[in-house]
């Protein structure tokens, strides 16, 4: 919603006198050379390490170990090996399943929760909103042990095996995604006009009807943002996944971390495969982000929280 407001503002500023030189002079903030210097510096700061990921992934391990930036040899075979050596095939499949389920369910739950929080007055409402913000900052390291114990207890007392399955991870990620997803939806729904809902109510729509027929179709940008952030939470997590998975339910993040750690102490670590696997793990995230960039940036600043 901030995104749309911002877009309006910028477009208003631009349409003021589009493309005119004087207009540009008025709003400009930095002298040309300084501007160019900053841009070049920052782009290099970002792009050199990013380019290195690819360059090292096609280089030989010896070349990487000797500190070559530009590879002396070129080979794509690392991209064939990582699926079994790093365990990336299983890892990516698990990551996609767990993070994907988290995204869908979290978006669905958060829109319902946010709708009530935005549109209805009740006691404890502000506390609930504050709680959403506070819960985003509860440190994962504080939660991992009790959650682990709780899940193990569910195996011994209820006979439900949670540890080591994808369900345990899914429930965990879903819960930890909820506060932020809901907050994003809260900020989004606030920007929707009430008139449509009121019209629908006059036509006899129920609460659920309003939510499904009016709010849902209008909220896709917000749903996409909150879903993607839930997805990223599951995709990026190492802490819970490293404690709660077995090799066969490992996510890609843990597979890569374990592979990297196991290379310590060997003769020459398999750098090429590490970099190839890094690139493969990063690719879905970067692609998602490029596709939905406009929404996501708006969501980030509107949510005000990572």
């Amino acid at each position: 919603m901030t995104a749309t407001a911002t877009a309006e503002r910028t477009s208003a500023a631009q349409s003021f006198r589009p493309g005119s030189k004087r207009q540009h002079e008025v709003t400009r903030l930095l002298p040309g050379p300084l501007l160019a210097g900053i841009l070049v510096f920052l782009c290099a700061l970002v792009l050199i390490p990013v380019a290195y990921i690819f360059l090292a992934s096609v280089n030989s391990d010896i070349g990487v170990a000797n500190g070559e930036f530009l590879p002396s040899t070129f080979s794509l075979e690392n991209y064939g090996k990582i699926w079994s050596s790093v365990g990336l095939a299983t890892g990516l499949a698990n990551s996609v399943v767990v993070a994907g389920m988290t995204a869908v369910v979290s978006a669905a739950l958060s829109i319902a929760t946010a709708y009530v929080l935005v549109r209805y007055q009740f006691r404890g409402r502000l506390t609930a909103l504050r709680g959403l913000l506070a819960l985003q900052s509860v440190p994962g390291t504080l939660m991992v042990l009790p959650v682990f114990v709780l899940f193990s207890s569910s195996a011994s007392y209820l006979g439900v095996q949670v540890i080591g399955t994808q369900w345990g991870l899914f429930i965990t990620y879903l819960t930890f995604a909820m506060p932020f997803s809901t907050w994003v939806m809260v900020t989004y729904l606030r920007g929707l006009p009430r008139e449509l809902e009121e019209a629908a109510r006059i036509d006899g729509a129920s609460n659920v009807g309003v939510l499904v027929r009016i709010i849902l179709p209008l909220s896709w940008p917000g749903i996409v943002v909150s879903g993607i952030f839930a997805f990223l939470l599951g995709w990026n997590d190492v802490l819970f996944a490293s404690v709660m998975t077995r090799p066969e339910s490992q996510t890609a993040a843990v597979a890569l971390q374990v592979f990297g750690a196991s290379q310590e102490g060997g003769a020459i670590p398999l750098y090429g495969q590490m970099m190839a696997a890094s690139l493969v793990c990063a690719a879905p995230v970067v692609i998602l982000y490029l596709i939905f960039q406009r929404y996501l940036v708006g969501g980030l600043t509107a949510g005000g929280v990572k």
């Binding site: 290195y52 500190g67 319902a112 802490l239 971390q257 750098y271």
Partner: protein, 349 residues
């Protein structure tokens, strides 16, 4: 504080009598079958119809809060309380299986954590590393935002590039920098070509600065984003006025533009601190466990105490200390955020 505020969320939906009795048990069926429409009729006459807040007062579907609230209660609040309880138990790999009957030792874990463990050192490391990283990312982020504020050819591409470090998963960032920081790796050979011998990056006292550097690389785009949202709130008239006055670019930035950034940047500062202090993945993947003593930040220490030394009770006490630590910026943040103002939807300023 977290716990208290959350209890209210749970208890809040209960008071209104209009709640469908079964809604708590099965949301999906209630959702699908539309349990509430039946309530439409009887709920209405109970309240005065002519009130201004009519819509939000009657027929509130508070049951919709139940699935999300229940989930957060079971997986966040209960473990949080459990963690605090565990910090008072003598819990190791032998007593963990029957943790309910583990010996209760009161504050002994806290005493040990504060006097006989590297906890205070870790607190110091966490705070100083977060602060240094924050102080360096601020000018980087502001410079990036100011530089991309005015349109130029290729600006969209530059803006996308700027966000790449932020969207790369932490474990990827750490794996890549770990490779680059290897002895004789690409960074050492680049520094060597200009005659600098930097020494070890992944071992020894310099590891602290390695962590700070990588954290800066990964998190400056966040400052950039919030600074950008601040810049976009600068009115066009302000630009015109300062142009009429013939303000030099530096004075314009300093006295006209920067004041607009104060709010978003204060917010970015608090959230950034919270994230840095809580960051587990970056040091964990960058250095592995057991980590060098100079990067044994709080999350790493807590993790190692639990899952390497199996001192679960002690670890729970440490985790509680880190909760107290983050409560400080969190408290300021919650006080500063406007929760319910349509004018500032992001809760900023």
């Amino acid at each position: 504080m977290t716990t208290d505020s959350f209890k209210d969320l749970r208890t809040a939906p209960r008071p209104p009598a209009a709640l469908p009795q079964t809604a708590g048990a099965d949301l999906p069926s209630g959702h699908g079958a539309g349990a509430t429409p039946g309530h439409d009729g009887p709920a209405r006459p109970q309240r005065k119809p002519a009130r201004r807040k009519g819509l939000s007062e009657r027929n509130r579907p508070l049951w919709m809060l139940i699935p999300g609230g229940l989930l957060m209660l079971v997986i966040i609040v209960v473990p949080l309380l459990l963690g605090i309880f565990m910090s008072a138990l003598s819990l190791d790999q032998y007593t963990l299986r029957k943790w309910v009957s583990a010996p209760f030792i009161g504050v002994e874990n806290f005493v040990e954590a504060l006097t006989a463990s590297p906890l205070l050192h870790s607190v110091w490391l966490s705070v100083s590393y977060s602060l240094i990283a924050m102080v360096v990312t601020l000018p980087l982020g502001i410079a990036a935002a100011v530089a991309t504020q005015n349109a130029f050819r290729g600006r969209a591409v530059v803006r996308s590039i700027f966000l790449v470090p932020y969207v790369l998963p932490s474990f990827v960032v750490a794996t890549v920098w770990r490779t680059m920081f290897q002895p004789d790796g690409v960074i050492d050979s680049a520094l060597g070509s200009v005659g600098i011998d930097a020494g070890l990056w992944l071992n020894g006292p310099q590891t602290f600065w390695t962590l700070v550097l990588v954290q800066i690389w990964a998190s400056w785009p966040f400052i950039y984003l919030l600074a950008l949202s601040g810049l976009q709130s600068v009115d066009h008239e302000v630009h015109e006025a300062s142009a009429l006055d013939g303000a030099l670019w530096w004075n314009k930035l300093r006295y006209v533009v920067f004041p607009y950034l104060k709010g978003p940047l204060a917010l970015a500062f608090l959230i950034g601190m919270l994230h840095h202090i809580n960051n587990f993945t970056l040091p964990f993947v960058l250095f592995g466990v057991p980590a060098p003593a100079d990067v044994e930040v709080l999350p790493i220490l807590t993790y190692v105490t639990s899952f390497q030394s199996f001192r679960f009770g002690l670890s729970a006490a440490m985790a509680f200390v880190s909760l107290v630590l983050i409560a400080i910026p969190l408290f300021i943040y919650l006080r500063a955020v406007k929760l319910d103002d349509a004018e500032t939807p992001g809760g900023k300023k």
